[in-house]
Symmetry: C2
Subunit: 200 residues, 2 copies
């Protein structure tokens, strides 16, 4: 292929990198951080351990990269979409989050597994998940949600996001089901209809 004078786009490099990150998402989801080995990831992407380490530095480096570069951006987009809406609608926000997650089961799988593993303060992603939880709630509380007058918005947000974590676990365990539908049933219970008429 050397006769092609295409400017050596460095595609090999970025391709390898994203291949590694994709394989890492799957492995962190299926086996967690401790159960993941660079050897397996290397096999998946057709490299050696040393080749993988060249790109990510270390196993912890791989974890950091995957969380910062792959998982984070999606969630931030959602929040920013709602920051400038007038009459911001909690139910719709949750539906949008669910719709996005329904299309990225591997990432949700990774999130769920690492989230539980990282309860332990010694886990390398413990701080990441702690701060993420905290920041999410703080940012959500600053939005002037349009809700029934009696609503305790803090409690509602905590309850709703907790329910979403749980329903996503159940969905991942039975992937033939439709996450959007499962959440629709949850929504109907969390924000029942006579009371939430006109608010969702």
């Amino acid at each position: 292929m050397l006769h092609l004078n295409r400017p050596k786009k460095r595609d090999n490099s970025t391709d390898s990198r994203t291949a590694i990150l994709n394989a890492a998402v799957v492995s962190f989801g299926e086996r967690g951080y401790y159960g993941t080995s660079l050897q397996k990831i290397a096999n998946t992407v057709g490299m050696t351990k040393a080749g993988v380490l060249h790109h990510v530095g270390s196993k912890e480096g791989l974890l950091d990269i995957v969380l910062d570069e792959v998982y984070d951006p999606c969630t931030e987009t959602i929040i920013n979409n709602f920051r400038m809406t007038d009459r911001p609608n909690v139910a719709r926000m949750w539906r949008e989050v669910v719709a996005i997650n329904a299309k990225r089961p591997e990432q949700v799988h990774m999130f769920s597994t690492l989230d539980a593993e990282a309860i332990d303060p010694k886990h390398p992603a413990h701080e990441y998940f702690r701060k993420r939880d905290q920041n999410l709630l703080e940012e959500m509380l600053q939005i002037p949600w349009y809700v029934p007058g009696s609503t305790n918005i803090g409690a509602l947000l905590q309850a709703g996001f907790s329910m979403m974590d749980g329903i996503q676990l159940r969905w991942l365990r039975a992937p033939e089901r439709d996450l959007n539908q499962m959440w629709a049933e949850c929504e109907a219970e969390l924000m029942p209809m006579p009371m939430w008429e006109g608010y969702r």
Copy 2:
């Protein structure tokens, strides 16, 4: 010691065994199945790997024993308590579950970590968690819960147990908080008060 004709109470044995199981609960919680090593458990209980293996047979054997012998009995007790009640009250049932879990954080920690890890069909506890989910819902649906007329009881149970999984994760990440109180806020959202007056 052969001169003692005490009936060889085998207390050393049961002590070692329960010590091993307790250490396993903690380790499976903090590091998951893959992250747990028999060596560490042996160190914790003051034995060698070989000594531990004598009691549990294999690492998978240890996992099975812990789930069947330590975790399961608690949950079964709760369900049976409610099977014979008249006017069974869902809200009270959930409060009792939460009250029990609030007093056994290590076991809840183990449950949460293994539950997420076991999403993967290749995990040694995958079938255990799949069947547990299924059985729990089936048994709960057979109970004639006393609820407002409009309630979709299947959806309510799914939503409630999902919310409980999520809130327990948050509690474990911030253990200074009170799980019972956290759940009380969730209950108020899931079964809001004008509608659930007299039902909880």
